[in-house]
Amino acid sequence: MKSPFLKSYAVVYLLFLFAPIVLLPLFAFNDSKIIAFPLTGFTTNWFQVMADDPNLFKALKNSLFIAITSAALATCLGLFAARASTRFVFPGKGPMMGLIMLPMVLPDIIIGMSLLIVVLAIGVPLSMMTIILGHVLMCVPFSVAILSSAFQSLDRSLEEAAYDLGETPASTFRLIILPLVMPGIISSFLISFTISLDEYIVASFLGGSETVLSVYIYGQFRFPARVPAIMALGTILVAVSVVLLTIAEYFRRRGIAKSGGKDTGGFL
């Protein structure tokens, strides 16, 4: 079943997918203010320009705080939902899981504006906390998807063996289940972290005066002179997310191998 046509199609498709990411470092190191071909020369100047803006570091600090907090909370909430949906049968499971997974397909703008309406109506001031509220909501479905596959590949008899040997549900969870789904937890944390770091709409709606990284980047696009520096920043961001994803993928696969399951594919 060899098909040279399909294979070349797949390669072209991957080229299309990777085109923007491949161009990014080219322009980050290109010695020109204009983003166009032909390239004029090599420079690392844009990284210097990027690093000279103190606003960037303020935004980055805010973003890291939001992303770490959101990822931790989303993974905790994801653990509860994934465990409940893979282990128990209970009334109202379908609608509840549907609601929890809904943000995966709901346009971000709807999440952002509906939260904004409620937050303003209650009179809560806009801050990093309100951004976290929204980001946790958006990360939970991804966390549930990853952790569900981790829980599904768990062998139920391991848990029953622990009960028979006198462990309580709590100690069984801590000693048996948690270590086995740990790789899933790590990959859920990293994926949620990446989503939160990248998210723009909710961050700009609910951030008030606090600037986060995505809002900073969006603002810079308005000034053509700042674009090369943003290319430099983008190169660093892409490199960091590829590293984080590779780590997440490593842990996800190790988790599946650990519990003796079969690898069925990617994150989604």
Partner: protein
């Protein structure tokens, strides 16, 4: 666990219901933190949006006076209708392009890649999705722009003498950018559906003398339809509400629904009208989704005959 097992063994129906009760109770207790969070932070705000959409615009947000005026404005206003139609047509084109282009790739990974290398291919497909969305969209603007990568490259090679304008900031550029952004969402569900197909069906088809193409049309394609449907919905629903791409690529000249919502909510401070636009958009998406699923159920029934 041991107790419930004993109760199960000794008691008849009573033991069974008690077992189910405890299981239901544990399940509900387990899911409650996440469910309560989703109800408070998602369901309640969505209900608030619906309530707001029936209220009157006031000096500080909205006044609790019931009105249908917001919906009348949204459904009869020329601008609103034009923007809704544009959002719908862009979403349709993006969905069509994404799913049609993704199918051969998913087919290739499922049928022609060695099992050990499948997850590497899927990983490659998902990498671009996890890198900064803003920067990816901006790069498409750079690639397709008047002085962009394609134009400057072609000019330099002497293929064209003037920059092409048909690829610049128009609906076509929107479609290309969105099709790129949602590619993994289409590839993965189709791949999962293809993986589930029993390979012996295909061999049976070919043993019975059908060509490979006929087998594909009569066996593989119908059996992979659930994945295609999932892909269509998972691409169509979020693209219709995309904000960043129309704003960055179109430079504010080709707004879609999300941009209109943002203008009403933040710039005009008309939360009632903004809510009505959002609810209308969600209704349209819901109706299209339901119609599509129903058409499809019919198609699947016909296919299973």
């Amino acid at each position: 666990m041991a107790e419930t097992a004993a109760a199960n063994a000794s008691g008849g129906t009573m033991g069974k219901t008690r077992f189910r009760d405890t299981e239901a109770a544990s399940g509900l207790a387990m899911i409650s933190p996440t469910a309560i969070y989703a109800i408070l932070v998602l369901a309640a705000p969505l209900i608030a949006v619906i309530v707001y959409s029936f209220m009157t615009k006031g000096p500080n947000g909205v006044e609790p006076i019931f009105t249908l005026q917001n919906y009348i404005t949204v459904w009869t206003g020329k601008i609103y209708r034009a923007i809704m139609m544009r959002s719908l047509s862009v979403s349709f084109m993006v969905t069509l392009a994404t799913v049609v282009l993704a199918y051969p790739l998913a087919y290739f990974i499922s049928f022609h890649v060695q099992p050990s290398k499948k997850s590497l291919w899927l990983f490659l497909v998902t990498i671009p999705f996890w890198t900064s969305y803003l920067i990816r969209v901006f790069l498409w603007k750079v690639i397709l722009g008047y002085n962009g990568v394609i134009n400057s490259g072609l000019l330099n090679l002497g293929i064209i003498s003037e920059p092409l304008t048909i690829i610049n900031y128009n609906v076509g550029a929107l479609v290309v950018t969105l099709a790129h952004a949602y590619a993994p969402f289409a590839v993965l569900p189709i791949f999962v559906a293809l993986e589930k197909i029993d390979r012996s069906f295909l061999e049976a088809g070919q043993d019975l003398g059908e060509s490979r193409w006929a087998t594909f049309l009569r066996v593989t394609l119908p059996l992979s339809m659930p994945g295609v449907i999932a892909a269509v919905l998972i691409v169509f629903i979020p693209t219709i509400g995309d904000y960043v791409t129309p704003d960055l690529i179109g430079g504010g000249k080709i707004p879609m629904i999300a941009n209109m919502v943002e203008v009403q909510m933040l710039k005009q401070n008309n939360r009632a009208l903004g809510s009505a636009i959002a609810v209308s958009a969600m209704l349209i998406v819901l109706v299209i989704t339901v119609v599509f699923l129903m058409l499809n159920r019919r198609f699947l029934k016909g296919g299973a005959r």
